[in-house]
């Protein structure tokens, strides 16, 4: 059997059996993924009001043109890009650092591993409310700290300041999601063969080179996968941003998902909301294609393909 090529393998049962097995998933995908997606695609070319969804005259590319001309889509795309890149860099970066620290032997390692997962386990709504208070001008702990240090800040309401709002949202997001990266990378680190590290150490490699030669090649696929996940999650993160700033002040934290909600539920313009959804989908597809190209290139470089 092992020597047979796929074309030589004969399946048991009649020729419909494979389709029968695939049918449930295919039906699910068509009903709950492709059909709504196709409807959203159509909706993006119509003028549809939230209160009159049945009345949707075709307007061609008008929604897209309006978003680029009168809307603030350039700024929205820019804020989304900054937010996503920073989330990926800091969440995966801190996750990697935390995982390497937690992988090393020290007293209380078990407790430390449990503690680091707490932010990830906390509900986003609770995190948003707590951090909103922490960034408050009069009562926030951050401003108390800044005032105690006699720094030239301390009277700012971070979430109302166009310069500080995005860093504040990013700080909160990274604080909440980096533990997930650290736990996943920590699991990947358990798969690094001990002999490899020992062999590198015997060859005189320092810590950095041990990581580069023995550890990184093993955990690299996991880290790349994390990068993809965190990118997609950051592109579609809504709860934390909406609860803390609703995309403000003055659009400083207005990402694509927030703008989609604003168009759909503040302006009640489902056509424009669907157009933003399609743009967001295109961005997510581009990111995924780039990811697979980079992964393929990395595998080729390592001689796996």
């Amino acid at each position: 059997m092992a020597d047979l090529r796929p074309s030589e393998v004969r399946l048991e049962g009649n020729s419909w059996t494979p389709y029968l097995f695939a049918a449930p998933v295919a039906i699910y995908l068509i009903l709950f993924q492709f059909y709504p997606l196709a409807q959203e695609f159509y909706l993006s070319f119509t003028s549809t009001d939230l209160l009159r969804p049945d009345d949707n005259p075709f307007v061609g590319l008008d929604n897209y043109a309006f978003l680029f001309e009168a809307g603030d889509l350039h700024n929205v795309l820019w804020i989304t890009a900054i937010y996503t890149v920073c989330c990926v860099v800091f969440a995966v970066g801190f996750g990697l650092l935390a995982a390497l620290l937690l992988d090393a032997p020290f007293i209380g390692r078990g407790v430390a591993r449990a503690l680091v997962t707490i932010p990830w386990a906390a509900p986003s709504v609770a995190v948003a409310l707590v951090f909103t208070w922490m960034f408050n001008a009069q009562y926030g702990i951050f401003n108390h700290g800044l005032r105690a240090l006699s720094l030239p800040f301390g009277a700012e309401n971070w979430l109302d300041n166009p310069l500080l709002a995005l860093p504040a949202i990013l700080f909160t997001t990274v604080w909440q999601i980096f533990p997930f990266s650290s736990v996943v990378i920590l699991a990947a680190l358990q798969g690094v063969p001990h002999e490899l590290r020992e062999a590198a150490a015997i060859d005189g490699a320092d810590r950095f080179n041990i990581f580069k030669i023995a550890v990184w090649p093993t955990i690299q696929p996991t880290v790349f996968m994390l990068v993809l996940f965190v990118t997609i999650w950051s592109l579609r993160r809504f709860d934390l941003i909406w609860l803390m700033t609703q995309g403000g002040p003055i659009g400083a934290t207005n990402t694509m998902v927030i703008e989609l909600y604003r168009q759909g539920f503040v302006y009640r313009d489902l056509g424009s909301a669907a157009a933003i959804g399609m743009i967001g989908l295109t961005v997510a597809l581009v990111v995924t294609v780039i990811y697979f190209k980079v992964t393929l290139a990395a595998e080729r470089a390592q001689g796996k393909r």
Partner: protein
């Protein structure tokens, strides 16, 4: 054996059919009633109790309160209505009430109630559009200056004195004034900005189909809003819930707010020494809070819903609702001396309503949510982005005109 099984099946079917018939006979028409007030502590329980008195007196109708927070009520209900469903009765904020009418989502009430039976308050005229009645005024109040008499014995009557008094009171954790200036509290932010604009004689439109967002009077109102922001007299970043708590704890000297807030202060701090005076602006015009009780056009129980409406607006029940809400209600309810003594602010707010205007963009009622968003973003540019009031409102005018033309 077969006979036994057949007998059991027959008996079971008979019992189930009889039970179904009996329950159908005694079932009441259930009318759902969605309102943000049910989610409020204190007032929510009192209004539920008021509805219970209706339910106890009915054999065929039962009203079921549905609590939805103010911030998400319109989105939730609009989405349900768009899908062909939603609650039977809804208490809408004025902005959402006007937005729902052109979409045909509200049932005209002309054939369901006889308005000659009720003595509606003056703002009831806004419940009719193109001669058709789409709602009934549920509760209404104007805006006035609430001031802590311990901190400010005499209320300011002009804007300059107001700023001076507020600055004098801002010290050691106490602030002279409080208002909203964040998009997280968009609805309240709009109400506060509108009071300043109306108070400086500005109007969002000329009422004849032209937006006037960048008119000199509107710009003067926005400049005054900015002057308060820059005067360091407000607890920046504190939301309404927080600064209202600060007020009843004696840490805020003055606050322009509606009659419902006066009731909240009184409820939470019965000994708080506060009074109500006209807002310290050049013009007497201020915003008008009004909510509309409507019947969803998708309702399967319009007659049962109308039965509740007719009960709710009977004089005795309006009086009970006024006690529960702490604000004026839809009809003219004569107050007893005891009621006036217990709620002295009601008379002051009734007077404020003489000059009150709805906080919607007149002539663009259904577009108000969109114009609101545009205006507030530009006001934030003035407060925090360094834009001049004229420059920002010119931009708001251009953006709003473009949006309205769509």
């Amino acid at each position: 054996m077969k006979k036994v099984i057949r007998g059991i099946m027959l008996a079971t079917t008979t019992v189930l059919a009889t039970a179904g018939y009996v329950s159908a006979t005694f079932a009441k028409d259930k009318v759902t009633f969605a309102a943000a007030v049910f989610a409020e502590a204190g007032r929510g329980d009192r209004v539920r109790a008021w509805i219970d008195t209706f339910n106890k007196g009915q054999d065929d109708v039962e009203v079921e309160p549905v609590a939805i927070p103010f911030s998400s009520l319109a989105n939730t209900v609009f989405t349900q209505m768009g899908g062909g469903g939603g609650p039977d009765l809804i208490r809408f904020d004025q902005t959402d009430f006007f937005a729902a009418i052109p979409s045909g989502r509200l049932l005209p009430l002309d054939n369901l109630i006889n308005e000659a039976n009720f003595k509606f308050l003056a703002p009831d005229r806004f419940m009719k559009v193109d001669g058709k009645r789409y709602g009934l005024l549920f509760d209404t109040t104007g805006y006035a200056l609430l001031y802590n008499t311990k901190l400010v014995p005499t209320p300011p009557t002009d804007f300059e004195t107001f700023l001076k008094d507020a600055k004098a009171q801002t010290k050691e954790g106490t602030f002279g004034y409080a208002y909203r200036a964040t998009m997280a509290e968009r609805a309240g932010f709009w109400q506060d900005v509108t009071n300043f604009v109306y108070g400086f004689k500005g109007r969002w439109s000329d009422g004849k189909g032209k937006l006037t967002l960048n008119s000199p009077d509107v710009v003067a109102g926005i400049a005054a809003y900015k002057a308060v922001y820059d005067a360091e007299i407000i607890p920046k970043g504190a939301d309404a819930a927080t600064y209202r708590r600060m007020f009843w704890e004696g840490k805020i000297a003055m606050n322009v707010d509606n009659g419902g807030v006066a009731a909240i202060f009184n409820q939470n701090a019965p000994d708080l020494p506060f009074k109500v005076a006209p807002s310290p602006f050049p013009d007497k015009a201020q915003g008008l809070i009004m909510t509309a009780l409507v019947i969803n056009a998708n309702s399967k129980q319009p007659k049962a819903a109308a039965k509740f409406l007719n009960w709710a607006y009977a004089p005795a029940n309006q009086s009970a609702l006024l006690q529960a809400m702490g604000t004026n209600v839809g009809t003219d309810v004569p107050l007893t001396p005891e009621q006036t003594a217990a709620r002295p602010w009601l008379a002051a707010y009734a007077k404020a309503m003489e000059n009150a205007l709805p906080q919607v963009v007149q002539g663009f009622e259904d577009k108000t949510p969109e114009i609101q968003q545009i205006v507030l973003e530009q006001v934030l540019q003035v407060l925090q982005g360094g834009a001049s009031p004229q420059q920002a409102m010119d931009k708001a005018q251009a953006l709003a005109e473009r949006r309205v033309r769509r």
